[in-house]
């Protein structure tokens, strides 16, 4: 046993897969301590906040300020202020009034602004420009003036009793606050999802649920498959015929279809993660049963099994001591594959809208489903779906690697 384990850990493929899987498990265990709380809590109003650090505007007004005179501050502010559409429309205005812009670089904010200040005249009515467009340029001009002239912003508060506005704070153009001093700063490495939940926190929790679903499904499938395989292989005869009859039929009928039919029949509010996992397990034992049976058949007439039988050992004892140890590696490999396909099955079911109910736990499939329902892939919110796909890929990649590694250890003909 010890020797086998040592051998397994000498296989580079197994070790790499094992490390990836353990890293995922560790993150799952540790992350909730770093960022505690309910992963399904909707912290943001609105959908799909971008990843990044959010600083409370309210708190930063009252936070102690330091003054910095940074040389490129104005330019940066204007850069951010002028969107690329604004720049293009400014250039459109120049061409409409016939100003030579052949030397102008549209990304050079200062040049663009000085040209604008020198030439813009709200009274001008370029040919072919509608009133709405002229109004747009007026507004743009106003906001440009406001952005480049005012040195201080005044924050006011409405006094509740008198209704007067009272000056609360003045914010100078050179005032800075230290992020560490602001009372409320929230870093969302993966932004928020369509419900305004912290995507990373949800992802970690979903990863846990999905692995749990995979484990339950894998365990159920392996136990059923192992039992049926042992019975069919060891007893033979009628039992074997019957079990093989079932197995052959369920090999061909796609388990995907069975899953849909069964899950659709279970009402949405009764479909917890465990139920879905059980259903997945119940429909995917066929492979294990097949391979266990063929292994047992080749073991059944070995000398040590015959000897055991002659000594009058009971059936459970023969199976436990003379057969199981020989097929344990195959069962382990089958289990690993079942876990991986269980996670995938849950994801696919959830995408079809037949996954676990949505209010209790997050799963990888449900996250994917919501991201797709809210068109995250069409509106550029990559953080809502891409990490989910990658997590699924990495989990099944690590499990597949472990499986290949084990395969090479136990089948010497496959070794490199």
């Amino acid at each position: 046993m010890k020797n086998t384990i040592r051998q397994v850990f000498h296989s580079p493929k197994f070790v790499v897969g094992f490390c990836i899987f353990m890293a995922i498990l560790l993150t799952m265990l540790i992350y909730p301590f770093i960022n505690p709380g309910n992963p399904l809590k909707m912290i943001g109003l609105g959908t799909f906040a971008k990843p990044g650090t959010y600083v409370s505007l309210y708190d930063s007004v009252t936070t102690e300020t330091s003054i910095f005179k940074l040389p490129d501050a104005d330019a940066k502010r204007l850069d951010k202020f002028l969107s690329s559409e604004d720049r293009v429309s400014m250039v459109n205005w120049f061409t409409a009034v016939g100003i030579d812009i052949s030397t102008l670089d549209i990304t050079d904010t200062n040049a663009l602004l000085s040209l604008w200040k020198a030439n813009y005249d709200p009274a001008l009515k370029p040919k072919g420009m509608t009133k709405a467009q002229r109004n747009y340029y007026n507004r743009l001009n106003d906001s440009l003036n406001a952005a480049s002239t005012s040195d201080t912003l005044t924050v006011t508060e409405v006094d509740a009793s008198s209704g007067e506005t009272v000056e609360k704070a003045k914010i100078g153009v050179n005032d800075y606050v230290n992020v560490g001093n602001v009372a409320n700063v929230k870093t969302l490495p993966l932004g928020t999802d369509n419900f305004g939940r912290d995507t990373l926190k949800e992802l970690v929790a979903a990863c846990g649920t999905s692995i749990e679903i995979g484990m339950i499904a894998g365990a159920v499938a392996t136990i059923i498959g192992l039992l049926l395989g042992l019975l069919a292989g060891y007893l033979g005869g009628m039992v074997d015929d019957l079990i093989m009859f079932l197995t052959n039929i369920f090999t061909v009928i796609p388990s995907f279809v069975l899953l849909i039919l069964i899950n659709y029949s279970i009402n949405q509010d009764q479909r917890g993660a465990t139920t879905v996992a059980l259903v997945i397990g119940l429909t995917s034992w066929v492979w294990t049963a097949r391979s266990v049976r063929s292994q047992v058949i080749s073991l059944r007439n070995r000398d040590h099994v015959n000897l055991s039988r002659l000594s009058g050992h009971s059936l459970p004892r023969i199976i436990l001591t003379d057969i199981l140890p020989y097929i344990a590696s195959y069962v382990m490999m089958a289990f690993i594959l079942q876990v991986s396909s269980g996670i995938l099955a849950e994801a696919q079911l959830s995408l079809l809208g037949l996954g676990p109910k949505t209010t209790e736990v997050p799963t990888l499939g449900l996250m994917m489903n919501w991201a797709m329902l809210y068109s995250a892939h069409l509106n550029g919110s990559w953080w809502a779906y891409f990490p989910v796909i990658m997590v699924i890929a990495f989990i099944s990649f690590s499990l597949n690697l472990m499986n290949t590694g084990l395969d090479q250890v136990f089948n010497p003909t496959l070794r490199d």
């Binding site: 796609p254 279809v257 069975l258 809208g353």
Partner: protein
């Protein structure tokens, strides 16, 4: 006289071989029929086995917002009649089977009054013409890659195999989303969704065919890329297994050319891959159906998804049945092909 003996022997052998094949195919056909019946039974029984009244559930979904009890009752009665749930189970089964026999799978709820068979008839062509070539090409490319990896080994194997394994670990829908975002949204070289331009009516003009081909690319490649990985990994291990076999060593010892040996090895390694394809077909089709949804491809996957979101029970039941039958037929065909290409099947029938 000298010629008669071998000729008659050949005839006898030919007759025997034919008989052997007939036995093999007869067995396969029998299995096909039995599995088909079980599939029908499951499609009928599974939804009815579940606790609770499915008609009540459907009515509840349909009658949301209706406060008048008599209206709800009318809806309930209508569905009960449509499904025949007010009759005993055996009678229901007989009606179900007779209707199916006439190609009648009921009327869709969500696209009333369209027949389910009509909706499925429109979708099935899209799914078959998408999945059949994609799975076959993915299988062929994967086998080629796996065989190359086994033959060349070294760097090619070391870099390529983990990469292929990783790609095969991405779920089909994930690959679909990634391809969609990269090629349709960022690079804008492919359309975002559908089977043809939304402003078109299916006809046989050049424009329409071109549009269909453009819309075909992303779903097609997402299935191909996924299936390449799994097949390559399997083919690689099979080929390594065969390359280490005794007959290869013996053939090398005899001085047979490497190229010829490789031909034998890969032919032998292919055989389990054909069985593997037959066994994993259901899973592959399932994954590809979900990928269809991402592209809103007008095939069975999207149809089924619509059925599920609209609580359109007859449509779901119809699509699952058709998908099962498609997989059954494909597996059957693969079994027949296997019978022809594996010499051992022929040999086994002589015993």
């Amino acid at each position: 006289m000298g010629f008669t003996l071998p000729r008659s022997r050949f005839l006898i052998l030919g007759g025997k071989a034919m008989k052997g094949y007939r036995k093999y195919f007869g067995k396969k056909i029998l299995w096909f029929v039995i599995t088909f019946i079980v599939a029908l039974l499951l499609n009928f029984i599974l939804p009815r086995l579940m606790p609770g009244d499915p008609v009540a559930a459907v009515t509840a979904k349909q009658a949301q917002g209706l406060s008048e009890a008599s209206a709800v009752k009318a809806i309930y009665d209508n569905y009960a009649r449509e499904f025949g749930t007010n009759k005993p189970m055996t009678e229901q089964f007989v009606t179900y089977m007779t209707n199916l026999f006439h190609g009648d799978m009921g009327t869709s709820f969500s696209q009333y009054p369209r027949k389910v068979s009509d909706i499925i008839g429109n979708a099935i062509g899209w799914t078959i013409s998408l999945q059949l070539p994609a799975i076959l090409i993915g299988w062929l490319l994967g086998n080629l890659l796996g065989a190359l990896a086994a033959y060349i080994r070294k760097g090619f194997d070391k870099v390529l195999m983990p990469l292929t394994l990783f790609f095969s670990s991405i779920p089909a829908f994930g690959m679909a989303v990634i391809l969609l975002v990269v090629f349709a949204i960022n690079l804008k070289v492919a359309p975002i969704s559908g089977g043809y331009g939304f402003d078109m009516i299916p006809n046989l003009s050049w424009n329409f065919v071109l549009s269909v081909i453009q819309h075909y690319q992303l779903p097609f490649w997402s299935i191909v890329i996924i299936s390449i990985g799994g097949q390559a990994v399997g083919m690689r291990s099979m080929s390594i297994y065969e390359l280490n076999a005794d007959y290869v060593k013996y053939a090398r010892f005899l001085g047979i050319k490497d190229r010829k040996i490789v031909g034998y090895v890969f032919r032998n390694a292919m055989l389990p891959q054909v069985t593997g394809l037959a066994l994993s077909l259901g899973t592959m089709v399932g994954g590809a159906l979900v990928a269809e949804i991402i592209f809103s491809y007008p095939g069975l996957g999207t149809t089924m998804y619509q059925g599920i979101t609209m609580a359109d029970y007859p449509l779901i039941s119809g699509t699952t049945l058709i998908i099962t039958v498609m997989v059954l037929i494909a597996t059957f065909v693969l079994d027949i092909v296997y019978g022809f290409i594996d010499p051992r099947v022929k040999a086994a029938q002589f015993d």
